[in-house]
Point group: C2
């Protein structure tokens, strides 16, 4: 990687720089075909059993935010990566890197929250690790969770077809705006909360649409626009979104305007993007909306032959491209 | 946990404080019976398949040391946790937390080393994650790996019996002394190298002793003495080690004396402690010694009815207890 010889914050943003680091540096040494797919979870065989396996490290700042904390996030985040791969999450690991001097009371609050989250999601934390580093050598607390689930659906990018419909399970941008509001002490309306939630409870209901749902992803780092860009990267397709159909809370829209950012690039932690065969869109939408986590589900666009890339049909009738940004606006959003 | 309300370095040492934090804080919220066993890997059922699942975060300082680096360590460390549980490691995750400004060249060196280690151990890295935090918010690079393996042996503490023999697969203390030498710039004989190695290559040969080998652990953080204390914690047994039988390199012994530490409390990264039925000790020892990773294997003690705890019969004929220390001498050894 010749462009820069030092790691920059943007290398962890979920944007263009992240992709470059992973493709040019990590995949240079790790060439496994499953890893190379760069899915959020790996689909694997273990004997006769098909499983999904995933990992994520959580470095969110601040540790506590409206609607959640790093404990809850680290459980639901990994549960969701398994769910998006069409798996039922079963087992989780939980590994702590703690800064010397961190409050044991805060640690307890976070662990309690993680334990509750695991219970809600129906997963069991079966192994863990605890490391402590000197004061100033980490920022309070980092958590890694890895997860194993049993595969129930067969979701691959290769399933995606022209004419498929893009659905999102609910409102966009809540998590990122809630965290920014807390971190930057913006004092925006306190009704903005992270959407942090266990998507496996929703996707379990979607298993009946095996074959109809072609692909799923949760739009975390980089938001809906970045994740859609990743999805159609290396495909001959484009995606056209319809601005008028995007479910965005009024408060989130207002906060985004103040911050000068586009909610389409803001992280979500309890939302699912589903790419669905046109034929049964209404049924899928109905099933989603019947579940608490999908109440505001909406069709937001479709897979198109042309133009390449991700585009937005604006409310006033124009179209503009939703490019993969070099780096997302705010680091450490998850 | 009332004694202290702040996390101390010792809470990550593998000693008494670590145990207190985990038992009094973590297990207060996570009550799964597999987790409660506090094994290095969890034995689980996934459908018809018996698997082992483990995780470890690596925060070693320095990142590069004689005989290895954090990349190699993070692969072999997790491979070894699976191997000690009697599993054949198959899949690994690899998650990076990188400090802004870290050298991409160093990152490449580390990833290359991790990839080579995975190849040597015969495991595949199938998923990963990359996070970047601001300068000063992490110490260069932390790596988490989680691993999945298929269970081949049934190793439980409950198998351990009075009269069982304690074996170690080779020399003691090499990793910890190599890291200390590098970190403290002691300038001790450069022949001291970390023993960092993939123990699954050795334990695969030991699968034929299913039923004979009752239990295995790799004596990492806290060394042989701490790990033996953990093993017999909650059992009615004691362990008596014989000082004269301990395989310790001359250089390691000399360095330990200079540092004023006991090699029995120093971390290893490529050694296996096996607790073996007396009847077939000679065969097990022969098999171990026939493998490059077990060439210096030795019987170092036995499981006794009395006294409780871990004891050392010294070379001059006395006995003294090997207590679980409050905290190991040096933090961030792995």
């Amino acid at each position: 990687m010749d462009i820069k010889n030092k790691i920059r914050l943007g290398h962890g943003s979920g944007g263009l720089l992240s992709g470059q680091l992973i493709k040019r540096v990590v995949l240079k040494y790790f060439k496994d075909k499953t890893l190379k797919k760069l899915e959020d979870a790996a689909a694997l065989s273990l004997g006769q059993k098909n499983i999904a396996f995933t990992t994520d490290s959580y470095v969110i700042d601040p540790l506590f935010f409206p609607g959640g904390d790093i404990g809850k996030l680290s459980v639901f985040g990994t549960v969701n990566d398994l769910a998006m791969k069409g798996a039922r999450p079963e087992y989780l690991s939980l590994s702590l890197i703690i800064e010397e001097g961190f409050s044991i009371r805060d640690l307890e609050t976070i662990l309690k929250s993680a334990a509750l989250a695991a219970k809600q999601a129906g997963v069991t934390v079966v192994c863990g690790d605890t490391k402590v580093v000197e004061r100033g050598k980490a920022d309070k607390l980092f958590i890694n969770t890895a997860g194993i689930g049993s595969l129930r659906m067969n979701l691959h990018k290769e399933n995606i077809k022209i004419g498929d419909v893009i659905m999102v399970s609910g409102t966009i941008g809540d998590h990122g705006i809630a965290v920014m509001n807390e971190r930057l002490k913006l004092g925006l309306r306190s009704s903005i909360k992270s959407d942090c939630a266990p998507l496996n409870l929703l996707t379990r209901k979607l298993e009946r649409y095996k074959g109809t749902i072609h692909y799923m992803r949760d739009p975390t780092r980089g938001g809906v626009a970045s994740v859609l860009n990743e999805i159609i990267d290396d495909t001959p397709f484009g995606i056209m979104l319809d601005e008028r159909s995007l479910p965005i809370r009024k408060e989130v829209r207002a906060a985004s305007e103040i911050l000068g950012i586009d909610p389409l690039y803001v992280a979500n932690e309890g939302k699912c993007i589903a790419i669905v065969s046109k034929k049964r869109v209404d049924s899928v939408l109905k099933t989603m909306r019947a579940h608490a986590l999908g109440r505001h589900a909406a069709v937001i666009g479709e897979v198109v032959k042309q133009p390449d890339g991700v585009w937005l049909k604006t409310a006033i009738g124009g179209t503009h491209p939703l490019l993969l940004l070099e780096a997302e606006g705010l680091p450490r959003i998850c």
